[in-house]
């Protein structure tokens, strides 16, 4: 009977993993199948033109801008906030409340973040529709993800590390960046990778704050179009699924590169990866 239950559960484990992988393969396969015909050097590296398909180089640049800027802002703030909640703040009602609020906010649809960004960053702060306004909006969207995953990984750092370090006459800060954060790195990393996904995947919040200008951005104060917004627009307006999928292929490659480099950088930061 117990054996049966064990085998049943084991079967589910295999089945689930199989399903996940199958879905993965199906989706990636679908995107590649639909889009690969459009992929060529020209498509990737040339300028966009509204007449005819044109290239997507401006969107690639814009996408990278938004990822880099959002992460540069959100990662430290998110990690520091998690550090505060987990290492500094007295674990009480308030912290619980903050945590609960942060969690609940992960469920707000991004279009609402977009509207907020359009009113706050674009209009009130007079940033105009721009890459920076979009990146700030995205920062808010991914903060809860980074905070929560960082908090979880801080929890798993053994207390004895903290004691060991402090007993050597180090400050909390030194302990933090020399011992605690390096040990928490795997969790923080997965938070960052998820954030990259969220940033890259976002469309609604971006087109309301960065706009959809299909030209090469001159800087972070330019209005511009990301790859996802591009694929969103072509899907919604012209129903050109092949083009949307081709853009998807480029995105997948970008994400792959980013994820790998995030892993690489974290290993580097973590000098000795024990």
């Amino acid at each position: 009977m117990r054996k049966f239950k064990d085998n049943l559960l084991r079967g589910f484990l295999w089945l689930s993993a199989f399903l996940t992988v199958a879905i993965l393969v199906m989706i990636v396969g679908f995107i590649f199948y639909k889009g690969f015909r459009l992929i060529n050097i020209d498509f990737i590296f040339s300028d966009y033109s509204p007449s005819g398909h044109g290239g997507i180089w401006p969107m690639i640049v814009t996408t990278i801008y938004t990822i880099v800027i959002s992460l540069i802002i959100a990662t430290p703030i998110g990690i520091f906030a998690a550090v505060y909640l987990q290492e500094y703040a007295k674990q009480g009602r308030l912290v619980k409340l903050i945590r609960f609020a942060t969690e609940s906010l992960t469920g707000i649809p991004s279009i609402i973040y977009g509207l907020f960004g359009a009113v706050f960053f674009v209009t009130t702060l007079k940033l105009g529709m721009s890459i920076i306004a979009a990146s700030l909006t995205l920062t808010i969207i991914v903060l809860p993800v980074i905070i929560r995953t960082t908090e979880e990984s801080l929890k798993t750092v053994p207390h004895s590390y903290r004691e060991g370090s402090l007993a050597l006459g180090t400050t909390k800060l030194q302990t933090l960046y020399k011992v605690i954060l390096p040990s928490a790195m795997p969790g923080i990393l997965s938070g960052i990778i998820l954030s990259i996904g969220r940033i890259v995947g976002e469309s609604a919040a971006i087109f309301l704050t960065a706009g959809t200008v299909a030209a090469m951005p001159e800087g972070i104060f330019s209005s511009a179009r990301t790859l996802t917004v591009h694929s969103f627009l072509v899907t919604q307006e012209s129903g050109d699924i092949e083009l949307a999928a081709a853009v998807g292929i480029v995105l997948i490659v970008i994400i792959l590169v980013l994820n790998l480099s995030a892993t690489f950088i974290s290993k580097k930061l973590n000098k000795a990866d024990y």
Binding site: P50, G219, S222, S223, T235, Q236, S238, G239
Partner: protein, 256 residues
Amino acid sequence: GNNNQETESSNNSSDTISISGSTSVGPLAEKIAEKYMEENGVKIEINQIGSSAGITNATSGVSEIGMSSRDLKEEEKANGLKETIIAYDGIVVVTHPSNKVKDLTIEQVKDIFTGKVTNWKELGGDDMEIVVVSREDGSGSRDAFQEIVGYSSGELVRSSIIASGNGNIKTTVATNKHAVGFISFEYIDPSISTVKINGVEATAENVLQQKYSLSRPFLFVHKEELLTDAGRQFIDYILSSEGQAIVAETGAIPVK
């Protein structure tokens, strides 16, 4: 030096015209702007973010010109917005290519969209359920379509699929042999089949000759005090014969 200056001034300076609004007008505006920029060296930024957002931006000054595929509401006009019709857009009823029904009267279209007729066999097609696909409430295409066909949003059949853009309607209809919907002329392609209304083919020509009634205007809106010379010149260019020629090329209907 040069580069810096451009960056700083990208929002409000006289050498960049910022336009935002309707996703239907957007592609047309982009194409005209592409040509115009080539010829005049002016920079034009076009953001396709929806008619309402465009109108809001034109009002608040975030953009110089707004694009709308619907008429201005009274409150919006009260804010001092001026509108310019830059083109007309034809709307066509579309079905799955396998659908045998190729011609409908306006009455029949109305019956379909209000749910009086629910099976294609009543219209001379196969015996199968009709799946109605409409745009979202507030869409310019939908406003125009409903007004001309003669039913209100409240009458639209409850179970209709609501799709959020021409492309989505097209994809939905192209993958469902029960479906019927409506899209702009510009988006017609072989994946869907177009339906004649009262025996009249959906072409720009027929619209111009007022034989085909499903059409609506594309608008540019602006506030006088915010419009720059460059902006005014661009609007003039669109209305010129050169500009209207591009309008015709894209499949939209020039203003005469």
